[in-house]
Symmetry: C2
Subunit: 380 residues, 2 copies
């Protein structure tokens, strides 16, 4: 029987944008949300408020769903296995998702596949970490194996004197991963959509700008890539998706050195901030292809609609009336595509984004930046 109802665990903006994409497809969304008025709960018809770490809550929620997917990667693997035991489809499945949940698992697996990664080691304490730094050279990047996001749970350590920081607040089950510092010149992201039956589609490689660990800008296609590099990075992402048996969207974040070579930074297995441009810039958005993949429907084309797309995140700033600012932005630049997440403004919080598409790369950047600046800065 085909999929009718997709359960989404987590009610953030990714679930919200998935819901918008579900409507044309005639799919139904059921949402397990953290609260009654979180971003996605404002727009979805069928909302259950509950704790995704409580097995009974998740299993009761899943009864109305044919298949489940996620707004975030934090659902415990044991619960995902319990869902599968109860006959539910889970996409991505727990064995794949573990590589987005645990950075040690991800590094070990990717290295085993011969995928370029920084040198890494699991370190048990400051002494171990210092030994790693002496071996690979300082600075060193340290990360918690689990639970980090948007720059949290990551340290850049200049030398042995900082080596205690990652161990200051230990958490059960969380290990510290030490990684060689990559002196990258920029970051890239490659998104793949993959169905349970194996059909895959890859989006054009995107350049992503991270500020304090938060994605702030993307430019698609990534400027200055040769056709060979574009093809190589796409093949790399497709191979990881297939080897890890990812279903839904996989985001492969890459660090690119000045010589053009790359190493994998992170994996995410859900629609990703670096793919938001696709709503207004691709023939099929990442949200639609995620749902198609999760429902095992044929995937849509991933090419760009216009030669260039620039996306700029709107982070909480001085302005707390986003809708009023959006009206000014749309008056000043009617072609700018503003997306608001329905979230209250908290400094630095992702509350929306702007995408501009067009023929001229620098022009779309400038317009997207101007629109986002206005949304963040308030009425000018």
């Amino acid at each position: 029987m085909s999929v009718r109802t997709i359960g989404i665990i987590g009610g953030g903006q990714l679930a919200r944008m998935m819901h918008a994409a579900s409507i044309p497809l005639g799919l139904r969304i059921a949402l397990l949300a953290e609260g009654p008025d979180v971003s996605a709960a404002q727009v979805v018809a069928d909302v259950t408020v509950g704790d995704y770490t409580d097995p009974a809550t998740v299993y009761a929620f899943a009864e109305r769903c044919d298949v489940l997917t996620f707004d975030h990667e934090h659902v415990p693997p044991a619960i995902l296995r319990g869902l599968i035991e109860r006959g539910k489809g889970v996409h991505p499945g727990p064995d794949a998702l573990l590589h987005a949940q645990d950075k040690v698992v991800m590094r070990e697996r990717l290295s085993g596949l011969g995928v370029p990664c920084p040198a890494f080691a699991v370190v048990d304490g400051p002494r171990d970490l210092i030994a790693f730094g002496e071996r690979t050279g300082w600075p060193v990047i340290a990360k918690t194996s689990r639970g980090g996001y948007d720059g949290k749970g990551v340290w850049k350590l200049d030398g042995p004197h900082n080596a205690g920081e990652p161990f200051a607040a230990p958490r059960p089950g969380v290990r510290i991963l030490a990684e060689e510092f990559i002196d990258f010149s920029r970051e890239l992201s490659v998104l793949v959509a993959r169905r349970p039956s194996g059909e895959e589609r890859v989006y054009p490689v995107t350049e992503t700008v991270q500020t304090d660990g938060i994605c702030t800008h993307t430019f698609t296609p990534a400027p200055g890539l040769s056709d060979e590099q574009e093809a190589e990075f796409e093949r790399l992402a497709l191979r990881i998706a297939a080897e890890l048996d990812v279903t839904g969207i996989l985001a492969v974040e890459l660090m690119q050195r000045s010589d053009g070579t790359v190493v994998v930074n992170e994996l995410a297995m859900r629609p990703h901030n670096t793919g938001h441009w696709s709503i207004d810039g691709a023939q099929t958005s990442q949200f639609e292809n995620h749902l198609r993949a999760v429902a095992d429907l044929p995937l849509g084309p991933t090419g760009t609609r216009q030669p260039h797309a620039a996306m700029v995140n709107v982070l909480g700033g001085a302005n707390d009336d986003l809708l009023a600012a959006a009206a000014q932005v749309l008056a000043a630049d009617p072609g700018a595509r503003v997306q608001l997440y329905g979230k209250s403004v908290v400094p630095g919080r992702k509350v929306g984004h702007v995408t501009v598409v067009g023929d001229d790369a620098s022009e779309v950047r400038r317009r997207a930046q101007a629109a986002a600046d206005h949304l963040m800065g308030g009425q000018q």
Copy 2:
């Protein structure tokens, strides 16, 4: 204060597609629906089930809304005036909407403005109707002044012997309008979006094919129009929108004679079937521009994304598993855009549509038709 919550009266597919368009804008939708599982109620978070002809129901519903708009034209004018007395914005307003509710009012007003219309008369009985036919020539078109849609409430009368038909089932407050038969070669539609502050945008003129009174196909831009004709028909629609003070989307349906001249057939004041192509084919969809207009936000550009767009309606047919058929369609033609309305299949009922955009007009027609045929006909 700016608009936060838009109330939509009526829960059909137009409200459903409005909801999808509302999500990026950060607007909230409240829905007054005919039942708990109608097309839009399946996807909207805030649903009230109630009777839109009951003033108390509508006024209670409106308390949570900043402004109200419609999925259909059937809300009684007295209720709309009551909403305005209670301080609510209503778009389109009752004075404008009356021209979409009552064909006699529409004909009298448009004729007064010098807009080309068929010769017409209000007829009180068969004798009156026969006199009209003798004066203008047979056949004659007779219509109920109110309540007709999708070919219902319309008669084509070949001669005096049929003149009793329109009077067989009289309804209170409903008059019979006799109109000169226009020997048109095709039908066109022009959509305008208009804000309360007067800003207007017009979509490219669309050719629309009606079968048994139901729109089945649209082709945008309408083939074979000269630049002068395109500009003339757009000006006509913009003028009607301004003169009638329409807010939201106005659809002006035209009949075009073989000599290229047109007369106005009908007006609709809400997103319209002849504008569904705009979801996948225009820079801003009619649903988004309707909401922007209703919320008095700046309107988005109405140009096409690709040179040609073909839309074919999916009417209920032999196939009752639309999602399974959609999977086959998307596999056969990944670029086809399928929109399903979440409605059960009833013969002849509008249950979805397909849009294809591209460079080649005949190719997009062929692909859209093939996809819709498959959805209607089932597995082949």
